[in-house]
Structures are given as C-alpha cells and as structure tokens.
C-alpha cells in the first residue's frame, strides 16, 4: 500500500499515536453507550429521607482568597442539604490578606461554619486539619475559587447511600463566567472532562479526585492512609491526583455524579494557565511514578492497562508532536527567509485546485478524532444537562492543540530534571 511503502519513522510514530488516541476515544464511547443501555433497563433509584442522609463536612482550604471566599461560602450555605447534617470548615492556611477575617465573620453569623487558622503548610495540611477537626461520615473539599450548585451535595450523598462500596464521588466541574477566549476554550475542555470523568467512573478508572467538591467516605480514606493525621499528602503539589491513585491502588471505588455541578474560576491569562497546567501535569507524572506498579498491571483493571498507559502515551506523544510541529514551523520559516533572501518577496494569489488538497491518511485521522471529540462534547452536554457553545468548541479545537503541548513539554522537562513547581503553596 502506498502509505506504508513510503512511511518514515516520524510518520510511523504519528500513526501509532493517532491509533492509540482513536482506540482510547472509541473505547470510552463504547463504554458510555453500553453502560447507558444497561442503565435504561434498571429501576430508578428512590430518594432517601433527610434523616437518613449522612453527615458531611466540607472543608474550604484557603490561602489569600479574600476575593472569592465569601461567594464560595454563600454557595455552600445555599446547598440543598439538612443544616444539622452539613458542617463547613474554613481552614485559613496562613493567608496574609483578609481571608481570615472573612472566614471568622461568616463563622460568627452561621453556626454551620467553623473557621480555623494555621500556619501556611499547603492544601494537604489544611485538609488534614479539617479531617482531624471533624467526625462526619463524609468529608469533602471545596477550593475557595469554586461555587457549588444547590443540588450538588444531595446528588453526591445519594451516590454514597446507593452504593456502600463507593469511597469517593467527584462532581461535574464547569468554568464560571468565562470572559476571554482562553476561558471559553477551557469551558469546552472542562465539558469534555465531564464526559471523561463519567466514563472513567463507569469503568472504575477515575485517577483524580479534584479539589472542587470531591467528597470522600471518611473511614475509607483513613483506611488507605498510613496515619490518620496525615491522610492528604503533599504529593508533589497535587494531593488530588495522589488521593485518586491511592484509593484506586487499594481497590476503592470512585464514582462520579455529572449533575452535581461545581463552577470554578479558571486562569484568564496564558501565563497563569501555563502555571496551573504545568503543576497538574508535573503532579500527574510524579504521582504516576510513585504508583508505577499500577501502570500496565492487569490487577488494577482498566486503570492499569488502559487509562494510565494511554494518558502517559498522550503526554509524551503531545511533546513529540509539539517537537515535530516546532521543527517543521522553524524549517518552513527558514525556507521562507532563504526564499526572500535569494529571490525577493513576491506576493501571489494562489489558485485553487483540488489536486493540491492534502488527502493524506494523517489528515483524515485527525478529522476523525475531531469528530469523535464533538460526539464526546455532545454526550457531555447531555449527561450534565447543559449545552456546549459552538464558539467554545471552535476555540477548543483551534487553540488547545497549539498551546497544550507547551505545558506538556514543560512538565516533562520539570519531571525529568526533578524541579518541583514552586507556586503558591496552597493552590
């Protein structure tokens, strides 16, 4: 065949990466469709009387969050959950702004809220403090830059009630009020994340329990920890990855509730987005290294043989494609410079001819991947009862592939040289 006769090493790697990406997406779609088919044959689950609901503590770890803390606490107070069963613990992690005053003001006004102050030690230490100051059956976290939908906790609590084997439940995270194209791009990206988290939950493969409103069964997270006072670990600045992997490595179930909506403030500049993502990616790589026994290990099911290996391949593949793209762009620009230098600058209007349309298999594969991504976004909107804006999707398709490899490369370099991100401690 023509393609295989003329393939270079670069092309072979590209085809392999595209095949793996497509396989992964197809697998997720099949899992989603078959799960939904089975679910439609099941009896609907009855709602639980409020007296039977479990007690929940929501910890709000914060560091210099004076701008958003009040809104976060207000959204928690508006939760549709019995007051006597919901405790809100604000842990001020050594903030140097007005965070502590705001927290104490709320604590004095609402008996559900307790404000604690501690020296700055990072989010994990703040969560540990919250855990040792609570005794409810469920404990969760809400980052102080996020706001919950009133029904979110009730929906999540039902997941715990309906399945006693569930150790943690993750919500559907959405971007709050995007103002620029970068945030709109992230809104579409987070929508795709809703689908991914849902399917990962169906195949028992959630590997991260994100900061915005993941809720845990207290007994289970203590059970998988070496010390009850140190349940959340620093874990390279990404305790949510570590917690997810730790629960999975102990065969604990992590579920997802796509209707439990949490809105979060997203980075609004390229630099802040880069810093956030490089921290996430670095954390993922380092935590995966710490839990490397799970990678490719059939004992851990789908997570071991599919999700972790594919995620790793996609990170390194992204770096590779970025390198290739960069090399091609540099080579093209050098060529253009040589052209101008040798033959001067000529501006000509190209004539359209179908003959010159690129019909390589690579282009078709990329188009198919985009199509599958659109299907994923469609399903994401369906399961979270929201809608995907066309503009967000277009921005996601246009920009994400160009900028994501930058932080993937940065994270791989950092992980390789062992330079941990030195960002703000808590975030």
């Amino acid at each position: 065949m023509l393609v295989f006769c003329t393939m270079t090493i670069d092309m072979t790697i590209m085809y392999a990466l595209l095949y793996i990406s497509l396989y992964f997406e197809v697998f997720l779609l099949i899992s989603f469709i078959s799960h939904n088919k089975n679910k439609s044959n099941q009896e609907p689950q009855a709602s639980v009387h409020k007296d039977c609901l479990p007690e929940v503590t929501i910890a709000v770890p914060c560091y210099n969050e004076e701008k958003s803390l009040a809104a976060t606490l207000t959204s928690l107070l508006a939760l549709d959950y019995p007051e006597n069963k919901l405790h809100i613990l604000v842990v001020n992690d050594g903030s140097i702004d007005e965070t502590s005053n705001i927290a104490h003001k709320f604590a004095s006004e609402y008996k559900q809220i307790t404000a604690l102050d501690k020296e700055n030690g990072g989010k994990a230490s703040a969560m540990n403090m919250a855990l040792s100051n609570s005794n409810s059956e469920l404990i969760g976290c809400l980052d102080a830059d996020s706001f919950v939908d009133p029904s979110a906790l009730m929906l999540i609590a039902h997941q715990f009630i309906n399945d006693s084997e569930v150790s943690a439940v993750t919500p559907a995270i959405m971007i709050d009020n995007p103002k620029n194209i970068l945030q709109m791009m992230q809104r579409a990206e987070y929508m795709a994340g809703i689908f991914m988290r849902r399917v990962f939950s169906m195949i028992d493969s959630i590997i991260v329990t994100p900061g915005p409103f993941s809720i845990f069964r207290r007994a289970d997270i203590i059970e998988v920890s070496e010390c009850a006072d140190n349940v959340w670990l620093h874990a390279h600045g990404t305790e949510d990855f570590e917690m997810g992997l730790r629960l999975q490595s102990n065969y604990k179930r992590i579920a997802n509730e796509p209707l439990a909506k949490v809105m979060t403030i997203s980075p609004d500049t390229l630099y802040s987005l880069y810093r956030q993502r490089i921290r996430w990616m670095y954390g993922f790589l380092m935590n995966t290294w710490d839990y490397k026994h799970m990678v490719g290990n059939i004992k851990y099911g789908n997570i071991g043989i599919l999700v972790l290996p594919t995620t790793l391949v996609s990170i390194f593949g992204g770096v590779y494609v970025f390198g290739l793209l960069l090399t091609n762009i540099v080579s093209y620009l050098l060529d253009a410079l040589v052209h101008v230098y040798t033959a001067g600058f000529t501006l000509s209007v190209p004539r359209f001819d179908w003959f010159y349309i690129n019909t390589s298999a690579l282009i078709f594969m990329v188009l198919i991947l985009i199509l599958v991504l659109l299907i994923i976004l469609h399903y994401a909107a369906q399961i979270s009862h929201t809608r995907v804006r066309k503009r967000d999707t277009a921005l996601y398709l246009l920009l994400y592939g160009l900028i994501a490899p930058v932080w993937l490369t940065g994270a791989v370099v950092r992980a390789t040289v062992g330079a941990e991100s030195k960002w703000k401690v808590i975030r």
């Binding site: 003329t6 497509l22 789908n302 001067g344 003959f355 298999a361 078709f364």
Partner: protein, 224 residues
C-alpha cells in the same frame, strides 16, 4: 474487566484506521492517474506537432503557438509532480516512473523548441537546470527559488528542470552532451554550462537578453 469491549474497540478502531488509509491511497492514486493522463496527453500533443513538422516543411510560424501551450502544460505537470513527490516521498516508485516520463517530455519539448527557433527566427531564452533532491545539493532549493522568480517575471524564459539522479538514458545523454559535472546545481544557458549556485544578479548577467527585454518593454508590458 470487559475484554469483549477491548476487542470491539480494537475492531472499530482498526476498521476506521484501515479505511482511512485505503481512502487516502485511493485519492493519491487518482492524483497520480491525473498526472499520468496529463503526461499521456502531452506526449500525444508533442508527437502530433513533430509529425506536423515533418509533414509540412513550410508550416506557418503562426501555427506554432501550440508549442507555447505545451510548455505551459509542462509547468503545470511539473508542479503537480513536485507536489506528489512531497506527499509520497522521493522514493515512491510511481513518482519516479512519472518523473522519468516527465523528463522525456521535457527533452522532446526542448528539441521541438529548437526546431521552432530555427524555423521561425524567434529567440526564446532556454535554460536547462540540473538538480538533485537526494540531500547532497544544499543550493538546489535556492537555485529553484531564483529560477521560479525569473520564470514568473519573464514569459519568454523557458526553463527545463531535470533531476540529474534519474535513471534515464536520454537524460544521461543530455547530461553528457552538455558536460554537466557532478557539482550541482548546474545550469545550461545558450549552450554553456555553469556549475554551482547562481544568484538572481548572476542570472541577470548570464541572461542579458532578459534584462534588455525588461528595459525595452513599455511600462504596461513590464511584469516587475
């Protein structure tokens, strides 16, 4: 774990993957067929014109415009072939085969052009350009830019580009006749061979008739 799901995903992905490759191959083959069709049409046109020359010794020079059309078709063919070479690689057997035919067509067009020059007392400037894209000719790309620029600016300039590495006896003969050395790029201008890169200013010295044509042209006729 649901192994059936893994198998199903494998079947679906492989089907999509193979189908995509087959479609892409089919489209590439169609493009090559298109190139082949142009080549065939051109070879018939050239043969027809040659026959006309032989049949009618006194063929009117006014009727020889067909040769100019042929040359323009040769340019189109060359650019399509060059695109396919970029898509499928320089080692693709079909691309090599089409390039060989293209080279023969160029040589035939060159010979025909010489007949036209003799008969009609016209003097288009003819440049033979020998290049290599084996990676051993760093200046060939730059030389190509210079020749493209000249070709775009001067209708009377006829450039015949030959891949010197093609295994083609007619091409080898052309190389031998013109004493083209191993050092590429090489240009043959008015029967004289020049090895090595020639810049735009060098070319203007080597092709004074082009400069003259540009200088004597009225502003409306000048392309630059």
């Amino acid at each position: 774990m649901n192994y059936k799901r893994y198998l199903l995903a494998f079947i679906i992905t492989s089907t999509i993957f193979v189908t995509t490759i087959l479609i892409s191959n089919k489209l590439s083959e169609d493009k090559l067929l298109q190139v082949r069709a142009i080549e065939e049409k051109m070879s018939i046109d050239i043969l027809s014109l040659e026959t006309q020359f032989e049949l009618l010794q006194e063929l009117s020079c006014g009727q020889i415009t067909e040769s100019t059309i042929l040359s323009s078709e040769l340019n189109t063919l060359g650019s399509k072939l060059s695109y396919m070479e970029g898509q499928l690689g320089t080692n693709d057997p079909e691309v090599i085969r089409l390039k060989r035919r293209y080279s023969i067509l160029q040589i035939k067009d060159l010979l025909l052009m010489r007949k036209v020059i003799d008969k009609c007392d016209i003097a288009p400037t003819v440049v033979l350009y020998f290049y290599s894209n084996d990676g051993n000719c760093s200046a060939c790309k730059r030389q190509g830019y210079v020749l493209n620029k000249l070709s775009n600016d001067h209708d009377d300039l006829r450039i015949y580009a030959f891949d010197a590495n093609l295994d083609l006896s007619a091409l080898r003969t052309l190389v031998r006749i013109n004493k083209v050395g191993a050092s590429l790029p090489a240009l043959v201008i008015n029967g004289k061979t020049y090895n090595g890169f020639k810049s735009l200013s060098d070319m203007k010295v080597l092709l004074p008739e082009l400069i003259e044509e540009t200088n004597t042209a009225t502003p409306d006729q000048t392309k630059e």
